[in-house]
């Protein structure tokens, strides 16, 4: 057993874990964060995507021990106070970016991470930015639309500083 401490969706948890425990299983089975799901065993589907220290990772491909001391954000921690939806959640709803919804938590987390890097992506950049997430229902079209909608909504809500403009420049060159 290894002692780890994680802050998940703003709450700190200290636990003894079997070192072989995958982060996703720790979140689901130990912490009850069942919003994050597992879709494969080869790190391809991205259904398990969460933010680890602010960056998207596949939580099925991270040992819980590797995350020791870090902040984790799951789909359940994305909403604001009073359950106000994150613009990305709102956009997935508004653009019909989900059907069965199984890929959705991972897709939304991956998309949030993508926009943090590139707040004004082209459609192709969105498509490429989500290449690590599989969806079998939507054909991705409305997912791309939703991400663009969220990007527009987020830009409108927080006018771009020159700094974030530079960051966007960086990753797109």
């Amino acid at each position: 057993m290894t002692r780890i401490s994680l802050t998940v969706d703003g709450v700190r948890y200290d636990d003894d874990v079997d070192p072989r425990t995958l982060l996703v299983h720790h979140l689901r089975d130990r912490l009850g964060k069942v919003g994050t799901v597992v879709g494969c065993d080869t790190s391809n589907c991205g259904a398990c995507t969460v933010l680890l220290a602010g960056k998207s990772v596949k939580s099925c491909t991270v040992l819980a021990t590797q995350a020791d001391g870090s902040d984790v954000t799951t789909i359940e921690g994305l909403s604001g106070p009073n359950d106000a939806l994150h613009p990305m959640q709102q956009a997935f709803h508004g653009c019909h970016g989900l059907q069965c919804g199984y890929c959705t938590p991972g897709m939304i987390m991956a998309a949030v991470d993508l926009l943090a890097d590139n707040p004004e992506p082209s459609d192709d950049e969105v498509r490429e930015g989500l290449e690590g997430n599989l969806c079998r229902c939507t054909g991705y079209q409305n997912i791309v639309r939703a991400v663009q909608q969220a990007a527009a909504d987020m830009r409108a809500a927080a006018p771009r500083t020159s700094q974030s403009a530079d960051a966007a420049q960086e990753v797109t060159t």
């Binding site: 072989r20 689901r28 919003g35 259904a47 059907q99 989500l130 991705y140 409305n142």
Partner: protein, 800 residues
């Protein structure tokens, strides 16, 4: 939290945002895997590494010694209580129906077949213990290829059947009296084309792997399962294990996709059921993706030999189809019936007068096949749409023009086809004209000519696919004629709550299809209540005791019609109560915009909510009127519904690497009356993505020893957003005539239409090289190889 905005107006036809989303976008979902019960044991399943073998020895004792392990058992231990997995569709009288033990007892017939089970206090311990089970096999000869399986002296998958042929099913228009004789048509023909097309094996690859939880405590045994068919599952558990039906409750909670892949009664469900009964404790089995791919059912896998007869003016005169359909090692719930559904679709939208279809099902040492999105119809559409293109090339006619010469004109409906179905409505001209316009057909043809002229290494191809499909499965009478084990009706119930809110119970079982939203729209209009006041309940046999579940694009056409009927009954039932409250004669009342009003007098009337409250208090009801507004309805469709459409695809083919890029894709579908355009477009996008995936990316490959070489998402390449194009959708609306909603079904249309559109486009790009076919999936290597072979053949024939 509410994520729906309230707007007045007619609901049907509006692009309502979905009710389902609120829980799905916040992670507050009830997947089967989320269910945890006190004392629950976790199961792990040991699977056969061999494709065909006798089990000579199994010993689970060492596993029992390991920490956390509570029990372990083999097929022999549960042989008398585990039941046999059912096949509900023996298509002929003499269909071979082999026994199908959920847990193999003494022989395994495909890799991945379950052979032993461990139950432990946690999942990790259960998995660890699998390694401690001792098991010896005596290998038996393996047959994987269908033609090998039918050859003399082939190893038998089921020794006692004496053959690998499961059945042969024939539809001949001359014999059935629905058309002429294909042999005659062939001998009279001016052009005869013979082609072989191969439908590769596919894996449904729904995103939520299958999982099941069984709780045997309490009066009923409860099973939660990631299934499309909770009602059928309950019936099959009862019929097969002997546990009385009323002692079983099945729940399909939130289910993450199915596409036919969860239209199954699985060994794992039966094993979990047996385990829970054996231990008297709740059990849970969560399948890994690689287990799903190895042992969940696969789809397609047919060899199609097609003969088309025609006149030189382009008129098709006959079609003969000889199919081999791979069943795999066992028969799943509808395995034999899937290719037979195709029998009614090879004639597609065309009028040719002679037709013969012959299909043989073949056993092999592979995972069973069964329904996968489209089930029989994509296969048929692919073959006919590919060979229509070949005919167009042969006659040097534009492929759309050739189709025009053969399709049923809009004024010829209703039209009885050579396969014996009556198409009620359609307008192929309108859909095709709209598609050509959206696509810029003539411009793209010009660009194609330029690229050919300049010898561009990237060639442009244009693919056409016109299709129809039979949806709304199905008239029970026809299912009976086809020897299917159940009917095709559907149920709906409407319950009026005292506060005027409405609960709808449907027998359909959505897993991504948005029934909660669409059904609410229908009810809102029919009962004049707000969209948000309707709650749609489904997928639990305790609330929805009766239903035939969701597959075959049937839910709206059949289940939606039942819902309309139940709503009408509620309106009728409330009428005497409203009249009583308004102190008038029921005959003077009309129900408009949710209000009962005296005909011709506008102003205040009584709503259904008023009546519901009156019924609840029951203080003052008219004499002889029951204190109940609730209503049930069962609808059995008179006919199938027939969506249709035209899809056009432009591909850019890199002739150096063979890589294909879809440059543009237009889909014009006629799905009848649209309840919610947003949902319809979503279904079309997703269906097309799966059809493109068949054309370009996916194939389940076995080696000759029966090992699945594509058993994970690393090798079974499901496309991501970066691999798929944007789709331009258009629509024509020719309502279905058989029921009041006019909707035809949209779940499978995109998948059916898109595969031939893409392959036709690739072949079209490469015609100048002499390429006339490429086997699916058209991987860069296969495309490159086709170009190379065609060049070599040309050079060979150029030589004197």
């Amino acid at each position: 939290m509410t994520v729906t905005e309230d707007q007045p107006g007619a609901e049907v036809g509006r692009d309502r945002r979905r009710k389902e989303d609120a829980r799905l976008i916040t992670g507050r979902t009830m997947w089967t895997e989320n269910i945890n019960l006190p004392g629950m044991l976790h199961l792990a399943i040991l699977r056969s590494p061999l494709a065909h073998a006798r089990i000579t020895h199994v010993d689970v004792d060492a596993a029992l010694e390991l920490p956390g392990v509570v029990a372990a058992f083999t097929g022999r231990d549960v042989a008398d209580m585990q039941g046999s997995l059912p096949c509900a569709w023996p298509v002929t009288e003499d269909t071979v129906l082999p026994g199908y033990p959920p847990l193999a007892v003494d022989e395994v017939r495909h890799t991945g077949e379950p052979v032993a089970v461990v139950a432990a206090r946690d999942r990790a311990s259960a998995q660890d213990a699998l390694e401690a089970i001792e098991i010896d096999y005596e290998p038996l000869p393996v047959v994987v290829d269908m033609e090998d399986a039918l050859a003399d002296g082939a190893p038998l998958v089921h020794e006692d059947a004496g053959t690998n042929k499961c059945y042969t099913w024939v539809l001949d228009s001359a014999e059935a009296g629905t058309g002429g004789d294909v042999a005659q048509a062939k001998s009279d023909a001016e052009v005869v084309l013979e082609r072989r097309y191969v439908q590769q094996r596919l894996i449904p690859a729904f995103m939520e792997p299958r999982s099941v939880v069984v709780d045997p405590t309490g009066d009923q045994i409860t099973m939660w399962s990631a299934t499309q068919i909770p009602h059928i599952l309950r019936l099959m558990l009862a019929m097969s294990t002997g546990v009385p039906e009323h002692k079983i409750r099945v729940v399909a909670p939130d289910v993450g996709g199915g596409f036919g892949g969860k239209l199954q009664v699985t060994p794992e469900e039966f094993i979990a059921f047996a385990a829970a009964r054996r231990f008297g404790r709740p059990v849970k089995f969560v399948e890994s993706r690689s287990e799903t791919m190895l042992s969940g059912h696969h789809g397609r896998d047919q060899i199609q030999d097609i003969t088309l007869s025609a006149r030189r003016d382009g008129t098709v005169t006959g079609l003969s189809v000889k199919l081999l359909a791979n069943m795999g090692a066992y028969l799943g719930i509808v395995t034999p019936g899937v290719p037979v559904l195709g029998a009614f679709m090879f004639n597609a939208i065309y009028k040719f007068p002679a037709y013969r279809f012959e299909c043989s099902g073949v056993f092999t040492n592979t995972t069973k096949t069964d329904a996968y999105r489209g089930a029989g119809r994509p296969e048929a559409t692919y073959a006919i749409e590919r060979i229509m293109d070949e005919l167009a090339t042969e006659l040097d006619v534009d492929p759309i023009e050739l189709r025009r010469r053969n399709w049923i004109q809009h004024d010829e409906f209703p039209f009885t086809t050579v396969a014996g179905l009556t198409y009620d409505s359609g307008n192929y001209e309108a859909a095709t004209d709209q598609a050509m316009e959206l696509f810029g057909y003539h411009e793209l043809r010009r660009e194609q000519a330029e690229r050919r002229e300049s010898g561009d290494p990237v060639q442009l191809g244009i693919g056409v696919s016109t299709y129809t499909e039979m949806c709304g499965l199905a008239p029970s009478r026809i299912l009976g004629q086809l020897r299917y084990g159940a009917g095709g009706w559907e149920t709906a119930s409407v319950r009026m709550l005292p506060t005027g809110k409405v609960e709808v119970i449907t027998g359909t079982s959505p897993h991504g299809q948005s029934h909660e939203t669409a059904w609410s729209q229908i009810v809102a209009d029919r009962l004049g209540v707000p969209f948000d006041d309707v709650e749609v309940l489904h997928g639990d046999t305790r609330t929805s005791h009766k239903g035939l579940d969701t597959y075959g694009s049937r839910s709206l056409a059949v289940g939606g019609t039942a819902l309309v009927s139940a709503c009408e009954k509620v309106v009728d039932k409330a009428k005497p109560i409203a009249a009583h409250l308004l102190e008038c004669d029921p005959a003077d009342l009309e129900f408009v915009d949710g209000q009962y009003r005296v005909k011709g007098t506008p102003g205040a009337g009584k709503t259904l909510a008023d009546c519901a409250l009156a019924v609840f208090t029951a203080h003052d009801l008219p004499d002889g009127v029951e204190a109940n507004l609730d209503a049930d309805a069962v609808v059995d469709p008179e006919n199938f519904s027939f969506p249709h459409g035209t899809h056009l695809c432009a591909t850019e083919v890199d002739t150096e690497t063979g890589q294909v890029k879809i440059r543009s894709y237009v889909a014009v579908d006629d799905v009848g009356t649209v309840i919610n355009p947003l949902i319809v477009d979503g279904q079309v996008h997703g269906g097309i993505a799966q059809g493109i995936a068949q054309a370009l990316y996916e194939e389940a490959v076995y080696d000759e020893d029966g090992n699945l070489l594509t058993g994970t998402f690393v090798d079974y390449t499901v496309p991501s957003s970066a691999d798929l194009p944007d789709i331009i959708t258009g629509r024509t609306e020719t309502p279905a005539t058989g029921h009041p909603l006019g909707a035809k079904g949209v779940g499978e249309a995109g998948t059916i239409a898109s595969t031939p559109a893409v392959v036709n486009a690739i072949v079209d790009a490469l015609r100048p090289f002499g390429v006339s076919d490429i086997r699916m999936p058209c991987t860069p290597e296969r495309v490159w190889q086709a170009i190379r072979d065609a060049r070599a053949a040309r050079e060979g024939s150029d030589r004197p």
